[in-house]
């Protein structure tokens, strides 16, 4: 005991005998629940993959100490002999068709975030742990996905389908998983007792320690994690920093290692960049459809929908063209949005070919869907019918939002203020409708602006002399704002039999001579 304290070796491993572990687990069923299992996705070729998929003649260069060097090379470039560390000129000499790209960390981060979003389907806890590492906590997902093997295959297949080369590792602690993935060990460790054995043979280069630390360790003849663990703890901490010691302890599970869960942004935003300008409208529509599908996936995972979308088409020279879409109801279905998009896209004028398309989702809202009917309900589906909101959406998509509205009455005695347009797309679709008791006789048609009538000795004319049927009805109100009125309204009939609603302005703005106006038509 005393000896153990004097030389506190990091390795506290094999002291509890191998049979202790199963014994311990047998009586610790509740403990097993809190046990964690970390799945690490390490993307060694991320700088290359972030430049676009499937380009073999590509090499990524990075500036280090003022000199550009090849960082990673695509398959064909590698076959031609392009190696990391070469100068760009040497690489070009080896492969004249080589395309050199500057490393783009921002793009890499975006790709990493997209992947994290994608991985969220496998675990509620996804963490971005560095520039090229993603971590998932999968202990809770194993049952749902049919065990570790099947989950691992799903993730591996998905990554491959998206064109990523990934090294995967599973371990009970996040750091151990990361290191094993970096070491390209196809490790799958479920029991924390085995972590030590797995890490022991791992070269120290997988740990991402500073080169100076690695150099001095190598000078001492220490090249792998096992060597490190055999060193006295105190001396190790003094020479290489407490941080390194803590890292080793965390990797082995002796110390807790809390991680931050990555949260996908609440709003969807995705870009599609094309390698060359594209003017083919059908192709652009197809790309938009793809974007809409990923938008649907995004919202589906959150059980949300949205009422607004914004497409932006970028051109090389001209200003970007934007195409907002709005719906009367919350929806996420790609088909529905595509339908609206098609109607609007027909009329969209693109000044130039398009180089990139961005889809930005609107504020997400809770979406309550209705359950589908079972097939044996024999009522024929009324598929060709759609609801009012769908109709309003379709109309608005083609002829503009401002051209489609409802109406509402307003309690105001001034005729022109006694109504207003009702927005059918407002969030509160069921707006309270005002029941207003107006004067008895109101025309069914109202002119947008009163029309000045010509007069004959003070008598109004419209297709001839008007004959008054009823009136006057004096409206003298609105004195509280600048639109007050003092008017005498009459119902009149024109010589050709049209029922008209006319008024005489009693204000003094016309110098005593009262002007007559036509304000409504009895349709």
């Amino acid at each position: 005991m005393a000896r153990a304290r004097r030389s506190p070796v990091i390795a506290r491993d094999s002291a509890p005998t191998p049979d202790a572990a199963p014994h311990h687990r047998q009586y610790a069923l509740p403990l097993a629940k809190t046990e964690r299992l970390w799945f690490c996705v390490y993307l060694p070729n991320l700088p290359l993959e972030a430049c676009g998929p499937g380009d073999c003649d590509l090499a990524v260069i990075e500036e280090r100490q003022g000199v550009h060097r090849v960082l990673l090379a695509g398959d064909r470039a590698r076959a031609a002999g392009v190696l990391p560390g070469q100068s760009p000129n040497a690489a070009l000499a080896l492969l004249p068709t080589l395309r050199l790209e500057e490393r783009n960390p921002i793009r890499e981060q975006q790709v990493l975030e997209l992947l994290a979003t994608w991985l969220e389907q496998f675990s509620s806890f996804v963490s971005i742990a560095g520039l090229d590492v993603l971590l998932l906590e999968i202990a809770g997902s194993l049952r749902l996905f049919g065990g570790l093997k099947s989950l691992r295959r799903r993730i591996a297949d998905g990554l491959e389908a998206q064109g990523f080369e990934a090294s995967l590792a599973i371990a009970p602690t996040p750091l151990a998983a990361t290191w094993l993935a970096r070491g390209r060990r196809r490790a799958c460790i479920r029991d924390s007792a085995n972590v030590m054995a797995a890490l022991r043979g791992l070269p120290l280069s997988c740990l991402e320690w500073p080169p100076t630390v690695l150099e001095s360790l190598a000078g001492m003849g220490i090249t792998d994690v096992g060597d490190c663990l055999r060193l006295p703890r105190e001396g190790f901490a003094r020479r290489f920093g407490v941080k390194r010691l803590l890292e080793l302890d965390r990797a082995l599970g002796h110390l807790p290692d809390p991680r931050n869960s990555w949260r996908a942004p609440e709003r969807f935003c995705a870009d599609f960049e094309m390698t060359e300008e594209q003017g083919d409208r059908d192709l652009l529509l197809a790309i938009c459809q793809q974007l809409l599908q990923s938008h649907e996936q995004f919202l589906l995972a959150r059980q949300l929908g949205t009422q607004r979308l914004l497409f932006t088409f970028f051109h090389l020279k001209a200003k970007a063209t934007s195409l907002p879409l709005g719906g009367a109801r919350t929806d996420r279905a790609a088909d529905h949005w595509y339908e609206l998009l098609r109607l609007r896209f027909e009329k969209l004028v693109l000044p130039e070919p398009v180089i990139a398309i961005r889809l930005r989702g609107g504020t997400p809202r809770a979406l309550h869907t209705t359950s589908g009917r079972l097939a044996f309900h024999d009522r024929p589906p009324r598929e060709h019918y759609y609801s009012m909101s769908q109709l309003a959406e379709r109309l608005a998509a083609r002829i503009g939002n401002e051209s489609v509205h409802g109406v509402n009455a307003v309690a105001d005695h001034r005729p022109q203020y006694a109504w207003r347009a009702r927005d059918l797309f407002a969030a509160r679709a069921a707006e309270v409708l005002t029941q207003v008791c107006q004067g008895t006789d109101r025309p069914l048609w109202l002119l947008p602006e009163p029309e000045l009538l010509s007069t004959d000795n003070g008598h109004p004319l419209h297709q001839g002399r008007l004959r008054f049927v009823s009136g006057p009805e004096r409206l003298e109100t609105g004195w509280w704002d600048e639109h007050g009125i003092v008017r005498d309204y009459y119902t009149a009939v024109s010589p050709r039999g049209a029922g008209l609603w006319v008024f005489r302005n009693r204000g003094r703005q016309h110098g005593g001579e009262a002007a007559w106006y036509l304000h409504g038509i009895f349709g």
Binding site: Y385, R398, V404, H405, G406, V407, L444, G497, F522, G523
Partner: protein, 215 residues
């Protein structure tokens, strides 16, 4: 003998499905009551033809052309059953020449919550909008004011009205009187200082007639 053969050949001819006889047409039994008994008596089915196109030719606005429809529209608002997911009973106004005035509509018993005003900017969109509204199954009635309405367009509206079980009413100028139309009912409304005159120009399953001072 020759007499007998004559009648049999006539009967044969009448059995031919290509022969259409106006009188034998089983008139739509469930016309939508117009609210004007005088008019209902003359319309086949005792009212406006449902699920069909009605054309009203008018010389000018302000001679009661809307008043003629108001009782029927009000009854459509009232009877609309609220079944999911389609909510019928809406009344769409496509390209009205002026603003339909809500206080007056309320006086006529129209439910403002079911009013849809559509103001397309081009004439081609008027017909498109009307067709969409008719075939949606949501609008009980669609009123439209097209600039032009040729035979083909009226046929499309007629079909859309049948598809969506909706009543289409197109207002057209008197000059359209001699243009062919697929409408189930064509009316002509005119007025002078003495009163109004309503003429039934064409009525599927009915016969032409003239009425005075209906509205």
């Amino acid at each position: 003998m020759p007499r007998n053969s004559d009648t049999s050949s006539l009967e044969k001819l009448l059995e031919n499905p290509r022969v259409w006889r106006a009188r034998s047409q089983p008139g739509p039994a469930d016309g939508l009551s117009s609210g004007y008994a005088q008019l209902d008596r003359l319309l086949p089915g005792g009212g406006w033809p449902r699920q069909a196109l009605t054309e009203i030719l008018i010389e000018q606005y302000g001679i009661g052309e809307l008043q003629l429809l108001m009782p029927a529209l009000a009854s459509l608002c009232a009877e609309a059953p609220g079944t999911e997911p389609v909510e019928p009973g809406w009344i769409a106004w496509v390209a009205p020449p002026f603003q339909p005035y809500p206080p007056a509509l309320q006086n006529c018993g129209i439910d403002l919550a079911r009013m849809l005003i559509v103001r397309p900017k081009h004439d081609s969109e008027v017909l498109w909008s009307a067709e969409q509204a008719l075939s949606s199954g949501t609008c009980a009635a669609v009123l439209l004011w097209p600039q032009v309405l040729d035979d083909q367009a009226s046929r499309r509206l007629q079909l859309a009205a049948e598809k969506g079980a909706s009543w289409a009413i197109a207002f057209r100028p008197l000059s359209a009187r001699h243009e062919p139309s697929a409408a189930a009912l064509r009316l002509e409304l005119s007025a002078n200082h003495r009163g109004t005159r309503l003429a039934i120009l064409k009525s599927r399953g009915g016969s032409p007639a003239v009425l005075h001072d209906v509205v």
